[in-house]
Symmetry: C2
Subunit: 445 residues, 2 copies
Amino acid sequence: MPSHRRQLHLNLFLMGVGHHEAAWRHPRTDPANLSSLAHFQRLAATAEAAAFDSVFLADGVEGPDPARANAWIGHFEPFTLLSALAVGTERIGLIGTVSTGFTEPYNLARQFASLDHLSGGRAGWNIVTSAGDRAARNFNRSANQEHAVRYQRATEYLEVVRALWDSWEDDALLLDRASGRLTDPAKLHEINHSGEHFQVLGPLNIPRGPQGHPLLVQAGSSADGRGFAAANAEAVFTAQQTLEEGQEFYGDLKRRAAALGRDPEGIVVLPGIVPVLGSTEAEAKALDQELDELINPARAIGTLSVLLGVDLSRHPLDAPLPPLPPLDAINGAKSRFTLVRDLAERDGLTLRQLVGRLGGGRGHQVLAGTPEQVADHIEQWFTRGAADGFNIMPPILPEGLELFAEHVVPMLRERGLFRHEYTGRTLREHYGLDRPANRYTSVNQ
Amino acid sequence: MPSHRRQLHLNLFLMGVGHHEAAWRHPRTDPANLSSLAHFQRLAATAEAAAFDSVFLADGVEGPDPARANAWIGHFEPFTLLSALAVGTERIGLIGTVSTGFTEPYNLARQFASLDHLSGGRAGWNIVTSAGDRAARNFNRSANQEHAVRYQRATEYLEVVRALWDSWEDDALLLDRASGRLTDPAKLHEINHSGEHFQVLGPLNIPRGPQGHPLLVQAGSSADGRGFAAANAEAVFTAQQTLEEGQEFYGDLKRRAAALGRDPEGIVVLPGIVPVLGSTEAEAKALDQELDELINPARAIGTLSVLLGVDLSRHPLDAPLPPLPPLDAINGAKSRFTLVRDLAERDGLTLRQLVGRLGGGRGHQVLAGTPEQVADHIEQWFTRGAADGFNIMPPILPEGLELFAEHVVPMLRERGLFRHEYTGRTLREHYGLDRPANRYTSVNQ
Ligand SMILES: Cc1cc2nc3c(=O)[nH]c(=O)nc-3n(C[C@H](O)[C@H](O)[C@H](O)COP(=O)(O)O)c2cc1C
Ligand SMILES: Cc1cc2nc3c(=O)[nH]c(=O)nc-3n(C[C@H](O)[C@H](O)[C@H](O)COP(=O)(O)O)c2cc1C
């Protein structure tokens, strides 16, 4: 078997008791785990034992709408949960979503730097701009900002955060007992940022972290989202339904990054997959169907209505979708809107069928099959220019992760695709990414 | 020995390698511990083994000023560090400072609720309004808001946060597999807050925490600060130099609370003390002096200048203080300004002497003596109406805490003043405080 030099990356996408919409109703999950730290500790430990690059916690900043029984992600907030998971794990990366829409860059830079310190260099930030007017209404706004403005704000926000992460040079903390000098003021820098959205003095109130900058992750797929990712992201999460679409996205992102003067290998593309595993294909398909049958249509339609920006709660379940608004009228998650619309059109789905398809992975590819079939899929996408690794989204947890770790990971190793053990210490090292130089440190020091 | 029914409370004030300004220069500390999670884990474990009510992490939102070699508190950010400390401890409370000046109430409510969940009901919030223009300049402002406006904002901020903590009734999470109902929409509430500083829709995106509301702590001592504490705080940190001053503060706060219709026992007053321990008084005094001699006057004067709002960097070390501005010109920490001014005047201190006095505890009372002398002091303040417990601020860490736990705590127990082991599980239970009712839950349900 040839030993490939290029190694694939695996991220565990944490999601309560599973990514399937109805996971919590399945007899092999325990819904009390939604609020159990021990459950998340077990997931992180399992992923670390399998040498996954990272775990990832998604987040949103709106509660459930009492008027619609819609989905609600979350519960634990990323900084708090990931900090708790930093204890008891040693190597696995800890990636959390934080929105640029409703937080201050100074606070965010500080919190990620603190997580990076206390985890020994394992922090990563999934940068989102937050769609949805209900989110905005939790933060003094009557409606969300325009899609394009959100990405402009995100761009400036990231500039500020990066400058703050450089505001302490790596050797600014002297701790020189003899002279009584705790810090070297010449290596502490005000950033004096003054832009359209932010005015920030600096320096940060924490020394530079082990990784210099936490890993920067992004998951927007619209034109603006891809532009932002190409310019800034080091890892990209994405939902792609077919190999061709995956290849298009992968190629486009790498070309955009290259056009901006970046090394295309410095941006790791991670499509999401929902591996519904069985020892036979029939067993896997049966689990998939069992889960779909547990979907509460009212809840799922509530979620879909929010995603599409169209109220579907009165639409007949067995009719095709009503006409949807044009893309430029969508101010939410544009790429997810397109994906869902295209899926419904392509396969001529009724509302009930669409809800079933999305229930498994909210637009990510559901692979119901044997471990070998899942490993084949991974190898194919990885070797045919559609992925540098995968965002693993088990349908039920912890079981789905444990099956993946026990049955799929060893096959990926046999095929020379995936590491047997960690070779690095930090999250950047796992993903093969450099530690950023500090803008204030002169090179010929 | 009489067994007192009223029990005293002990909080460990975490502070790098010790509260003394020069702790990091002392040969029995390790300055690398400033950024060591293991160090903080050891402190929390020691405090928990001694059955302390809580640990507390202070915070500020400005970095060191490169132009002045001034002090810099912090390093680890409270939510991240306290979440890490929640793992590996079981009982001890976890109190963190977060400013109402530069954060969004929705995010703060979420983060504290998340910490409360993952710690099993051990979260506490020290509410500060943040003084200082340099802090404001990290958050889009050219100067900080006025002292009074900051407290008005804090008051409205807290209203929002409390409503959000009630926005899920305790039984809103159904997890009813049979019916497919995850939540009960009738027990989820939009808060629809619309005030001068905040417009917030709600509900929060996390169920109500084990404590209902995390413990509310406050530490302002100005007239506005006392008013805020009397109305809202459940525990109060304070710096008091003499028994008389301590009694005045204690009595004033309890009377203010009673005047607002609160039970005065529902507000726990915790003056800070710096126990500099030795097996003889001479040994303790020698340690105190050794530490004072390690103070770097330039750094300490930088810190004092920021505190007083007067640049003292060119003032002769051996001259008395220059005239200070009147109190109403101070927009920073008013009560600390008063304390320092009065201390310097009362004892006719030169700048060098003042810096020495403050170096030990930044205005808190320094007790250099034997364990018995420290226990006597604690008993006196506790039984004579000046304290319900103490904020313990060891001069060097971990040693100062370990000595306190080993030598002072057993004496307090022998005198019937302090618990032998935890009797409750949550932070509120340790402090003898009720779990707040939910405003949306009708009592005759
Ligand atoms: C795997 C994955 C994870 C995501 N996680 C989050 C998240 O935690 N929070 C969030 O608001 N959006 C999340 N998103 C949504 C994207 O960040 C982005 O907002 C969305 O795709 C819309 O951006 P666009 O309009 O550029 O496509 C995620 C998307 C993907 C593919
Ligand atoms: C023990 C103690 C701890 C404090 N911790 C903080 C802190 O972490 N962050 C902060 O900004 N202020 C802190 N303070 C300051 C007070 O919160 C308050 O801002 C200050 O006393 C000024 O308020 P005043 O003007 O009402 O007196 C602390 C004060 C005391 C006594």
